[in-house]
């Protein structure tokens, strides 16, 4: 059905730190659900430890981060490190939101598998997740 993957993809959508701009995260959560994925919406004000703990508990395939207040370069390494510490190497990490274009390669180098800019259409990230969910 979904490119040879039997189980339904499980995605965790969340925001890190003190920022409450949650429109994008909520829209993406709904879009992923529409696309047939199981969505855990963790909401705002999460710290890296909570996010990784929830990802472990829920056994998710992908973590989606929404960044809007310029905190992307601070939190990304913290989350990546926390994921490594807990052996979440098989979980896909994607991010979206508001940031300078030149930060995208930096974020990908830090360990985000794919960064989507503001204005990206659903198809692009649904397809990416389906094609890249790790076994």
């Amino acid at each position: 059905m979904i490119k040879g993957k039997k189980k339904k993809i499980k995605a965790l959508v969340t925001k890190v730190g003190l920022d409450g701009h949650d429109r994008g995260a909520k829209v993406v959560a709904s879009m992923l659900k529409e696309a047939g994925m199981e969505v855990i919406y963790l909401g705002m004000y999460q710290m890296p430890e909570n996010i990784v703990k929830a990802a472990l508990d829920e056994d998710v395939d992908v973590i989606g981060l929404s960044y809007l207040s310029g905190e992307h370069l601070i939190f990304t390494p913290l989350i990546v490190e926390e994921m490594k510490k807990n052996g979440l190497d098989n979980v896909l990490l994607v991010a979206g939101g508001t940031f300078p274009a030149e930060d995208i390669p930096i974020m990908e180098e830090m360990g985000i598998d794919k960064v989507f800019r503001a204005g990206s259409l659903t198809e692009s990230f649904v397809e990416y997740i389906r094609d890249n969910v790790k076994e």
Binding site: D19, D22, S69, G70, E71, T98, A101, A118, G119
Partner: protein
């Protein structure tokens, strides 16, 4: 009506078969191809419009509007460090800005000091200024004529503390409270509904709001203690008519809470102001403002029995739509902002903030900020649109849209009332899901190309546009934390303890919290310390995740 050309055109308008779905505004109203007298059948000039400056103020709240006084050009003057923000404010004034808005950084917004572990990496973020202590407020306002320039603090949950600091600094500068100009956003209801920077549950938050309202109505007659904000609702996804209805319902709630607390409506209603978004749909946006003025004045006069005509006036600040800006071909945003700004002016706004084109990436550069300000000056000084008051009044389309905005608003008012009022509706998750649904629908329309965003889902080109962006200062946070640590070391800890226990006592009782807060900030108690005491007593609010 019997003009043959008009009848012919009307027939054409009815017959033509078009995809109706394409002709809907952002609120989802179906727009006809032509409007005429039959679309406003009961129209009565005196009752529905009235003269500008007269009840029900549909045409504007002042008789001469921009001929008498241009709108306030109010740009953002906040950047990480209070001293840098001060320099920025001076530059803006020099370029012709007549007011200024000051945003706070994420930690201050969330009631945390710069040295709080939760603040790490976010001090000075989001184009906001970090306010920990009175020292910061002093640096921010240094040398500014506080009785002349109107300062809008984009401050909400932390407003009682920010207000206390503002009052204390004005006192140091020798400016009487009665002469203090400006605005505190201080709109807690929309925090639960959309912006989400709340600390406490809604009811104790409302008590703090009423304390500030009472303090201002007794001491600061020129200051606006609440700016009831639809902007954030719209940014979170609310349609224009939802923005209109939800904002007005919030306004009525503040009125009711004030009356319940024993204030007379005319003692505070004249100082309530509003904040709207200028959306992309030009005429819809204009109709929203006109409907707001009419609904507000009628309700305040008839339902809440205000007698002072100043209480009936819906005074509004407007910002162009940050959420309509695209990261794709960012310079296109200059045109979007200009069109939105023009609609706000034709709608009769009192104050305007135009967004900078690079805001889909980062906080603005001085160059992009200047371009945004110039858009307002070009509209004001070159376009001629200010020469006459309410040039669109009487347009069949505008009046029909204004009526429709009004009647749909009343449907929302009834729905909210059936849920037990605004605070109950918040507790039941009504706004959170209504707004998330609208945001989802909007995105779906873009995906299906029912809504076009030029350069994003239509006329897309591959070329990357290189624009210059502001570089954040990586040293700022370290410096701010060091300064705060030094301040905390060099104060009399016994005084700090006494102040905090006084705050605790007043919070547990029912006296107005403002006097003890003013005393506390003067004794260098920090914002985070005060909010932590309040958190301890009121508890923290967590919303259910509704999407």
């Amino acid at each position: 009506m019997n003009n043959p050309d008009y009848m012919e055109a009307k027939k054409y308008g009815e017959d033509i078969s078009l995809d109706e779905e394409l002709y809907r505004n952002l609120s989802g109203f179906h727009i006809k191809s032509l409007y005429g007298p039959e679309d406003i059948p009961k129209f009565d000039y005196g009752t529905d419009l009235g003269l500008p400056g007269e009840y029900p103020f549909t045409r504007g709240i002042y008789r001469t509007m921009y001929r008498g006084k241009p709108w306030t050009i109010r740009q953002l003057g906040s950047l990480g460090s209070p001293s840098e923000a001060n320099r920025r404010i001076r530059q803006l004034i020099q370029m012709g800005s007549t007011g200024v808005s000051i945003c706070l950084d994420m930690p201050t917004i969330m009631g945390r000091d710069s040295d709080d572990p939760m603040s790490e990496g976010e001090v000075g973020s989001c184009g906001g200024v970090a306010i920990d202590s009175l020292e910061d407020m002093r640096n921010l306002l240094e040398g500014l004529p506080l009785d002349e320039i109107s300062i809008n603090f984009v401050s909400n949950s932390q407003s009682p503390v920010i207000l206390a600091m503002f009052v204390a600094v004005a006192g140091e500068q020798g400016i009487p409270l009665a002469k203090l100009n400006g605005t505190m956003q201080n709109d807690i209801l929309k925090e639960y509904q959309a912006q989400k920077s709340y600390y406490f549950p809604p009811r104790p938050s409302m008590r703090l709001t009423i304390d500030t309202l009472r303090f201002c109505s007794e001491n600061m007659p020129l200051f606006n203690p609440i700016s009831i904000s639809g902007y954030h609702l719209a940014s979170a996804g609310a349609t224009p008519v939802q923005e209109l209805a939800f904002t007005l319902a919030n306004g009525f709630t503040y009125i009711e809470e004030g009356i319940k607390a024993g204030l007379s409506v005319d003692s505070f209603a004249p100082r309530l102001s509003f904040f709207f978004k200028a959306h992309n749909d030009f005429f819809e946006n204009i109709a929203k403002f006109r409907a707001a003025r009419r609904i507000w004045s009628r309700t305040i006069r008839e339902k809440y029995k205000a007698e002072d005509p100043r209480s009936w006036r819906f005074r509004v600040h407007t910002q162009t739509s940050g959420s309509s800006l695209a990261a794709q071909e960012p310079e296109n945003n200059i045109m979007r902002v200009t069109i939105q700004a023009l609609s706000a002016v034709l709608a009769g706004t009192q104050s305007l903030h135009t967004n900078a084109f690079d805001e889909a990436f980062s906080i603005p550069t001085p160059r992009s900020e200047k371009l945004a300000l110039r858009a307002q000056q070009i509209i004001a000084r070159e376009s001629g649109v200010i020469n006459t008051v309410d040039p669109l009044g009487g347009s069949y389309y505008i009046e029909a849209l204004t009526n429709e905005m009004e009647s749909v608003s009343y449907e929302y008012f009834r729905e909210i009332e059936n849920l037990g009022g605004v605070i109950s509706a918040i507790e039941k998750g009504f706004y959170q899901s209504a707004i998330a649904d609208s945001a989802f629908k909007y995105q779906e329309e873009i995906e299906k190309k029912k809504r076009i965003v030029v350069g994003l889902n239509e006329f897309v080109t591959d070329e990357e546009m290189d624009i210059e962006l502001r570089e954040p200062d990586p040293e700022f946070e370290k410096q701010k934390v060091a300064d705060l640590t030094a301040l905390k070391k060099n104060r009399d800890l016994n005084v700090v303890k006494t102040c905090l226990s006084e705050v605790r006592q007043v919070i547990q009782g029912s006296d107005n919290v403002m006097p003890v807060l003013i005393k506390a900030v003067k004794s260098r108690v920090t914002l985070g310390e005060i909010i932590n005491v309040m958190r301890d007593i009121f508890g923290e609010f967590r919303e259910e995740s509704i999407y």
